[in-house]
């Protein structure tokens, strides 16, 4: 491999590492988004503290 090949490899490592981290972070953010949706649904279904009970 010539010098340019090594340079491309080094910069490739930088962008791949950043992309992988962003992908993993995005997945965790997506999971939090789904949890928020679930909590919202549960909150809507659950009776409120002031709701009339028989």
């Amino acid at each position: 491999m010539n010098g340019l090949g090594y340079l491309v490899l080094a910069y490739g490592f930088i962008w791949v590492a950043l992309a992988v981290y962003l992908l993993l972070l995005g997945r965790r953010i997506g999971r939090i988004g789904r949890e928020v949706e679930e909590l919202r649904r549960r909150a809507e279904e659950a009776p409120g503290p002031h709701s009339a009970r028989p």
Binding site: Y6, L7, L39, E44, P49
Partner: protein
């Protein structure tokens, strides 16, 4: 980021950000669970994160232009064309040091005050610092292979950097696989402080020991060609902006995870 935006804007009837706190609007249920820190300024942090996002791409492109075009090619014994990775390799090393420095301050803050927010800051900074350290350990050997003829040598700078990486990898493994209780958080804080104490050793290792690694210390002696120095400063600016953008995202994620866990506990108790 769409999922985050959806998650944070889900308040039209369920969850919302109000005055920086996550609030449940349904029938006044479980409002503001985190009694320790009622105001996390999540909306402000989100705006800061977006500002860094907008700055990142133009700064990285400019830094790449300076590194690839404006900076002169180095002499063959320092790597020739491959030396151009220096303009990102060194800034990522500095960003890693900054991240571990934040871990040090936040861990001391957590041990002194016991606030979860200090602990969450330390964890976020450790993760972002470890990413930067990983990039340093990936790009360095490529440059070394071309300049020295070997991917790796066990000299003081390379070895101490690897030790630093292992300490913070261990720190994150400890946090990921142990129960999230006060004792583990204290252990993690101590480990975070020990890891940060290794940073000056890494930085000064090229002065203390005979190493193959070039001596790259900040000093008044200079030695870098002016156009190379400009390219390095541009690289620093771009990489520190990337670091800040990632750190803010990771901090936001940590705070949202804490809030969602508290809301879940509140709902579970109510049901």
């Amino acid at each position: 980021m769409a999922a985050k935006n959806r998650g944070m804007a889900a308040g039209d009837g369920g969850l919302a950000i109000e005055n920086g706190g996550v609030t449940m609007k349904d029938g006044g249920v479980a409002a503001k669970h985190d009694r320790e820190r009622p105001h996390d300024h999540l909306a402000a942090w989100l705006a800061v994160g977006r500002a860094f996002d907008l700055l990142t791409v133009p700064l990285v492109i400019t830094a790449l232009y300076f590194a690839m075009v404006r900076a002169p090619e180095a002499a063959g014994d320092t790597g020739g064309i491959v030396q151009r990775v220096f303009y990102f390799h060194v800034p990522f090393a500095m960003a890693a040091f900054l991240g571990f420095g934040i871990v040090l301050v936040a861990s001391i803050g957590f041990l002194a005050h016991g606030r979860r927010s200090w602990d969450a800051t330390a964890e976020a900074a450790a993760e972002t610092g470890l990413l930067c350290c990983t990039i340093v350990l990936l790009t360095g050997p490529v440059w070394a292979r071309f300049a020295w003829g070997a991917w790796w040598t066990w000299d003081a700078r390379l070895t101490s950097t690897l030790v630093l990486w292992l300490i913070y990898a261990g720190y994150l493994v400890l946090r990921a696989y142990m129960a999230d209780d006060a004792r583990v958080r204290r252990y993690a804080a101590v480990l975070g402080i020990i890891g940060a104490l290794n940073v000056p050793i890494v930085y000064l290792s090229v002065r203390w020991f005979r190493t193959q690694h070039p001596e790259t210390l900040i000093s008044k002696r200079g030695g870098l060609d002016p156009s190379m120095a400009v390219a390095l400063r541009m690289g620093m600016l771009a990489v520190f902006t990337v670091f800040a953008a990632l750190l803010v995202k990771r901090l936001l994620l940590g705070r949202l995870e804490t809030r969602v866990a508290a809301l879940r506990a509140g709902l579970d108790a109510r049901e």
